[in-house]
Each structure stands twice: as structure tokens, then as C-alpha cells.
């Protein structure tokens, strides 16, 4: 009987060890980033809005449906992502927009663009601050003013800024990708072990109550 118990014990150990190995193998096998969710990221460039859609893990969403709503829920326009998971459109209205991606089979992601990012015309032009800041270079500014309008300067600056910022935005898009880390995985397993502890606690209470009951009998 005793040896039987021992082999059973050893078997149990082996089983637990095996399953632990399996889990570690899983974590290692998953590699850098694998996931099952879908995200869309949108940014403003000039008078257009660009979006990029991805499944978690970096797989691009091809032919996913993109629908643009304003904040009251009115549909503004819709389109499909291309081979590179991108979709761009001209700003239809200067309001905050909710961009929803439907990648099919119950996958859905969304991104909101606040009105402030659109550089709405309703905002006052930053003309006074410009002249104050460049107070020492006043003559130059005035010279520029005389030949080209401020509106033109603004457009040129915006264009070159957009061009300069393009790689930065690209990096932002890529770094936004947050895949589950090892910490998440082990955290989850820890929660499950905690639940086992709760179960074991109630089991113990039940058993000790039984024993108490027998003793009083």
C-alpha cells in the first residue's frame, strides 16, 4: 500500500512537472508578439486622415471595413483597408470623429480623433503670439509679411512638418503595439493558482467541520 502511494506521488510530481514544462514551452514558443485582437490607429496629415489597421501580432488587416462616425453617431463615410492595412480619406467635417474598424468574424477596433487634432478653423489664429515670440526678428517677419501672406507660410510649414513627422508617426504606430508580456502570462496563471487556493480553503473548512461533527457525536 505504501509503495503504491509512493509511486502515485511520484507520478503526480511528474505530471505537474510535465504540465509546467508545457506552459513554459508555450510562453517561449509564442515568440515576440502574438495576439488575437485588432487595432486601428489614425492620424491627421494636412487635410487628410490616415489610418493603419493591424491584428495583434502585427498581421495587417486587408480588406477590413472602416467606418467613420462623428460623435453623435452619424455615419460620415466608409471604406476598405488596402493591402498594407491602410486607408486614408479627406476630412469630411471639422468635428471629432470616431473611426471604427470591422475586420470580420467579430473583430472590432476603434480610434477617436478629437477636434483639436484637426486644427479647426474655429480656433483663433496664433498671429499675436508669433509676433511676440519673434520680437527681435520683427523686421524679417514684416518683410516676409509684405511678400507672402501668413496663410501661405502656415501651409508651407505644415507641409514640411508633416513630411518631417512622418517617420516619427510611423515609429509611434509601431511602438503602440502592445502584445501580452511574460508578466501578463504568469500573472494570469497566478490568478488561477489563487482560485485553487480558495477552493482548497473551502475544502479544508468543509473537511474540518466534518471531523468536528464526528468528534461531538
Amino acid at each position: 500500500m505504501r509503495t503504491n502511494g509512493l509511486t502515485r506521488n511520484r507520478m503526480c510530481c511528474r505530471k505537474v512537472f510535465g504540465s509546467m514544462l508545457f506552459m513554459v514551452a508555450c510562453v517561449v514558443w509564442t515568440g515576440p508578439a502574438m495576439a488575437h485582437r485588432v487595432t486601428i490607429f489614425a492620424w491627421v496629415e494636412g487635410d487628410k486622415i490616415f489610418t493603419e489597421s493591424k491584428f495583434g501580432g502585427g498581421k495587417l488587416v486587408k480588406g477590413g471595413e472602416v467606418i467613420v462616425y462623428d460623435l453623435t453617431g452619424k455615419q460620415l463615410l466608409e471604406g476598405k483597408t488596402d493591402e498594407r492595412g491602410e486607408f486614408s480619406f479627406k476630412i469630411p467635417k471639422k468635428t471629432a470623429m470616431k473611426i471604427v474598424l470591422q475586420a470580420g468574424m467579430g473583430h472590432r477596433g476603434e480610434w477617436t480623433i478629437p477636434a483639436s487634432e484637426l486644427g479647426g478653423t474655429s480656433e483663433p489664429n496664433p498671429r499675436p503670439t508669433v509676433s511676440q515670440k519673434t520680437g527681435s526678428k520683427m523686421p524679417e517677419v514684416q518683410a516676409a509679411k509684405s511678400s507672402v501672406s501668413l496663410e501661405q507660410i502656415r501651409r508651407v510649414v505644415e507641409q514640411s512638418l508633416d513630411q518631417r513627422l512622418k517617420p516619427v508617426i510611423k515609429i509611434l504606430v509601431e511602438s503602440r503595439e502592445s502584445s501580452p508580456t511574460a508578466r501578463d502570462v504568469f500573472g494570469g496563471i497566478g490568478y488561477i493558482l489563487g482560485l485553487v487556493g480558495v477552493g482548497a480553503y473551502f475544502n479544508y473548512r468543509r473537511k474540518s467541520a466534518e471531523i468536528e461533527g464526528k468528534k461531538t457525536d
Binding site: 506552459m23 510562453v27 502574438m34 485588432v38 468574424m105 502570462v185 490568478y191 488561477i192
Partner: protein, 208 residues
């Protein structure tokens, strides 16, 4: 196979929560204390399996393992899958909190179904048991895909079209899970046969 937040309509979500709650209640009733460690190991495996991404096919799919969970636990698959899905939703942002009920139904109902269908077969002789295990692993994923189609039917698209798409996307997963289930069953038959459902009545889980 997780449905994201904001896709399904209210009634579908509520129905999913109600059914999942009922299933979980039955599962907790049937899951006695001595099987809790077993359930926890399977819950952890299910939780981690969703990170194993299968790069074949048009969409983004991952392992599910609901077949083996159902085969070993029966109705206990409901609480086990609910716990794992909750953790996946919180830690990995897979699916969502409001869709927990529907997602639990999608993966746990096929698991229980496969338990009744194959539970007795996997303890029979190996030329019956191993093919049964393969079909169990594959069928549970297939039925899960059909459940996704069913859930989406009420809100947007046409049932056959969606189900077809989801099934096609999960074909590689079905085959892989079939093979995994065969290995698990073959291993358990050798090492711990009383973990398989057909045998559990003959030998009590803890003999003195």
C-alpha cells in the same frame, strides 16, 4: 474566436450571459473539490493557448484547446473557460468584459457537447480512442466557429457566410487541435487513465 466589444447587440449579450451563468452554475456543482487542481491546470493551459498563434490562413487565429478541456472536465469546462476568458480579457485585451458570456458559450458549449459525444469512446481500445480524440479536438473548434456565426447572425451578417468564413479561417487550428488532443489522450491513457471520463467511475479519484 473572441468576439470584440461593441459588435453584438444587447439581447445577444444578455442571452449569452444568462446561458453562460447557467452553464457555470452546473459546472461548479459537478466540479468536486478533488478535481479542482485538474481544472486549474486545464484553465491555465486554455489561458496560455490563446497566445499560440497559427500563422496559416487568411485571418488571425490561435489555439483554443476547448476539446481537451471538455473531454476531461465535462460541465466543469464552463467555469474553467469563464475564468480563463476573464483573465484573457483583462490581461491581453482579447474579447471584452461585456462579451464574456457570449464568448464563454462559444467555447464551452462545444466542449460539453464533445464530452458527451466522445467521453466514453476515448477509454475504449486505442484504434477507436485515438481517432475519436482527433475528431473531438477538431469538432470542438468547428462547433465553436459555428457558434461565432450564430452569435453574429443576430446582429449583422448572414449566418452561412459568416460561419463559412470562420470555419475556413480555423481549418488549420482544427487539424492542430485534433493532433494535440490525440497526444493528450494517448498520454493520459498510459499515465493516468482515470483522468479520462470513461474510466473515472471505476476508480475513485483518490484511493486510500
Amino acid at each position: 474566436m473572441h468576439i470584440s466589444e461593441g459588435v453584438l447587440s444587447g439581447p445577444v449579450l444578455i442571452a449569452g450571459i444568462a446561458f453562460a451563468a447557467a452553464g457555470t452554475a452546473i459546472g461548479l456543482k459537478k466540479l468536486d473539490y478533488d478535481r479542482i487542481p485538474r481544472a486549474a491546470i486545464l484553465s491555465a493551459s486554455f489561458f496560455v493557448a490563446s497566445l499560440i498563434h497559427v500563422p496559416i490562413g487568411p485571418s488571425s487565429v490561435h489555439l483554443i484547446l476547448n476539446g481537451i478541456v471538455g473531454l476531461i472536465l465535462g460541465w466543469g469546462a464552463f467555469p474553467v473557460i469563464l475564468v480563463a476568458l476573464t483573465l484573457q480579457a483583462i490581461l491581453f485585451q482579447f474579447g471584452g468584459i461585456t462579451t464574456l458570456g457570449v464568448n464563454t458559450m462559444i467555447m464551452a458549449l462545444p466542449a460539453v457537447f464533445c464530452y458527451y459525444l466522445f467521453g466514453r469512446l476515448v477509454s475504449k481500445r486505442s484504434h477507436i480512442a485515438l481517432p475519436a480524440a482527433f475528431v473531438c479536438g477538431a469538432l470542438s473548434v468547428f462547433l465553436g466557429a459555428v457558434m461565432v456565426g450564430l452569435a453574429l447572425t443576430f446582429t449583422e451578417e448572414n449566418f452561412l457566410k459568416v460561419s463559412y468564413l470562420v470555419v475556413i479561417a480555423h481549418l488549420p487550428v482544427m487539424i492542430i487541435e485534433g493532433i494535440i488532443t490525440v497526444f493528450c489522450v494517448a498520454f493520459l491513457r498510459k499515465v493516468q487513465p482515470d483522468m479520462l471520463p470513461g474510466n473515472s467511475e471505476k476508480t475513485p479519484p483518490y484511493a486510500p
